[in-house]
């Protein structure tokens, strides 16, 4: 290994010895560096930003750049006043637009998660029960759309769903319909887009779970005269619940905050919370309200995120 040679060579170098001894005098050992660098990065660029969002969500809007009032102000005689404005949150509750967007996001995300489960479960089950040589190919086929551009995959549905799109053209050519069915810019299109985009997130954890299952349990059930459907319902399905929950959370959580899909496939009235945040920020330039929307969305997602962490932690525990 050239790298190791290089390391050994640097080691033998006098000033390196000296510097490394001084560094360990200050408590800067390899361990501190390995933990410290990613730790500091995450605190600076992940944790602190959230504190700032929280701060700005309680400040007032103003004209100018940045478009919010500072939270603490030096007023005469150098007294610090803390100005907390909960109006942004009150606004979220009073305005029907926000309430609807909130509700609509939850319903859309929940509905498409269930649809995703219905489409994804048979796929994961099928792959797990395929011979190992084919299994890798099928898994690769599930992964491939995940690696291709999300934006372009959503875009593909515009060409399929629009009035002179693929589906309407085929149906009209077959004489099933005379007038094109309006599908683009409806909630239907948003559902299709979410299920399509997040399907790999459902299939992969389900597969990981179903693949580990002990098939002798099913054999025993069959030997004892259990019908395959009953065996599935009483053995396979309950055992695969951790996979079902993990997959559902992986679809539900990002779907709640989804922006691209409702923006491209949804109509003007298919309001989702991610889109509202976007409009508040980019069009109304109301940063405090946008921050309040973000915090409200986070509060909504804390539960699902905890469930996800719990199931994944437990699965990891089983592994060890």
């Amino acid at each position: 290994m050239i790298l190791a040679e290089l390391v050994a060579w640097i080691r033998a170098f006098g000033p390196y010895r000296w510097a490394s001894n001084r560094l360990s005098d200050w408590g800067l050992t390899g361990r501190t560096v390995v933990i410290g660098i990613p730790y500091l990065w995450l605190i600076l660029f992940f944790l602190i930003p959230f504190i700032i969002v929280l701060k700005i969500s309680v400040s007032d809007i103003r004209l100018g750049m940045p478009p919010y009032e500072p939270l603490m102000q030096w007023i005469e005689h150098q007294v610090v006043t803390l100005k907390v404005n909960l109006g942004n949150y009150a606004f979220l509750f009073e305005d029907a637009l926000y309430r609807n967007a909130y509700l609509n996001s939850i319903l859309t995300a929940a509905g498409s998660t269930i649809l995703c489960l219905l489409v994804g479960y048979p796929m994961a089950y099928g792959i797990a029960r395929t011979s190992p040589s084919w299994r890798n190919l099928l898994l690769m086929m599930v992964m491939l759309p995940f690696w291709t551009s999300f934006l372009l995959r959503v875009y593909a549905w515009i060409g399929i769903l629009k009035n002179n799109g693929l589906i309407n053209n085929v149906l009209m050519a077959m004489g099933v319909i005379d007038e094109p069915i309006v599908m683009l810019q409806t909630d239907f299109a948003v559902y299709v887009g979410i299920v399509y985009s997040y399907l790999p997130f459902m299939v992969l954890p389900l597969y990981a779970n179903l693949e580990k299952m002990d098939l002798t349990l099913l054999e025993a059930a069959a030997d004892l005269g259990c019908h395959p459907i009953k065996a599935f319902l009483t053995i396979t399905l309950p055992l695969s619940m951790p996979g079902v929950i993990a997959g559902s959370m992986l679809v539900f959580i990002p779907a709640v905050g989804e922006f691209v899909i409702p923006a491209l496939l949804g109509g003007p009235d298919s309001l989702m919370i991610g889109r509202v945040l976007w409009e508040e920020f980019f069009h109304n330039r109301d940063w405090p309200v946008a921050s309040a929307v973000a915090i409200a969305m986070l509060i909504l997602l804390v539960g699902p995120i905890m469930i996800l962490q719990y199931t994944q932690g437990r699965q990891a525990g089983v592994h060890r």
Binding site: M1, V142, L301
Partner: protein
């Protein structure tokens, strides 16, 4: 009989795959369509590819995206490997729980929230330290590194957790220093995972629209931003051509890494067999 797929499962699975692939195939097919009306077939043509290559806006955006994605992937791999090492090799340290939370939260955080929070941080930093001055390539790269390092951490951590620690322990017992153990033993073994993490981070950055929209400035239009503004106006055939090129590259990449991994796996099994045979 047990463990075989029934006819019903096979049908449903095939329908699922059809659902996954019909949209992608339709983009590929219509990218070779003569007509501007994307969904009406009017004969085979490669003119949209030529048009795409002459579109300076798209070419420049693609170059910028490639640059950002490559820098991001390299940075994210370094940070993610360190974080993965910290979480899997140091069982107890102050704030371990916080670090675990901070490396998994970006995976599920809605992008609008991450984007907004990153932008507000950059604005606040600019006010206080005067850096970063405005928003552009630097801020995009930092934002991308922050969310893609979380993915790399997961990949590296799961690889490290299945790694046989006795190899490292043996080297330590024989007097190798931790850094030497890492470069001589750990790094070569986890190299496929590092490669996978690099590719994942690259793809995440290359695809990202939402976070980039928040932290980009004038003159830093990445490819997704250009595609989004074009797509909002409707379907256009040169985007189909672009999609076809991207799908082809990804397919080649996935198939070749798949084959490479299989070969690696086989070689490792052979080595293990040989070692066992020697022992007897």
């Amino acid at each position: 009989m047990i463990g075989r797929r029934s006819f019903l499962v096979t049908t449903l699975m095939s329908l699922g795959f059809a659902f996954l692939y019909i949209p992608i195939l339709s983009m590929v097919v219509f990218s070779f369509n003569e007509s501007r009306l994307v969904t009406v077939w009017a004969g085979f043509s490669t003119k949209w590819y030529l048009e795409l290559l002459q579109n300076d806006q798209i070419i420049n955006a693609a170059k910028l995206s490639l640059k950002i994605a490559a820098i991001n992937a390299t940075g994210a791999v370094i940070l993610g490997t360190l974080a993965g090492l910290a979480l899997s090799r140091f069982r107890r340290f102050k704030g371990r729980t916080l670090m675990t939370g901070m490396t998994t939260a970006p995976l599920v955080m809605p992008e609008v929230i991450t984007g907004l929070s990153m932008l507000l941080l950059f604005v606040a930093m600019e006010q206080i330290f005067g850096w970063p001055a405005g928003r552009g390539v630097t801020t995009i790269t930092i934002a991308h590194m922050t969310f893609s390092m979380a993915y790399v951490t997961v990949v590296i951590q799961s690889r490290l957790s299945t790694l046989d620690e006795s190899l490292e322990e043996a080297a330590l017992d024989l007097g190798a220093r931790p850094a030497k153990v890492f470069f001589l033993i750990t790094l070569p073994i986890i190299f496929p995972a590092i490669l996978a993490g690099w590719l994942l981070a690259f793809t995440l950055s290359w695809d990202d629209l939402v976070i980039t929209s928040f932290v980009s400035g004038p003159g830093s239009s990445t490819l997704p931003l250009v595609i989004f503004s074009k797509v909002r106006l409707g379907v256009s055939p040169d985007i189909n051509a672009l999609a076809t090129i991207m799908v082809t590259i990804v397919a080649i990449g996935i198939v070749s890494t798949g084959l490479y991994m299989q070969a690696q796996e086989r070689r490792r099994e052979r080595d293990v067999q040989a070692a066992l045979a020697l022992n007897q």
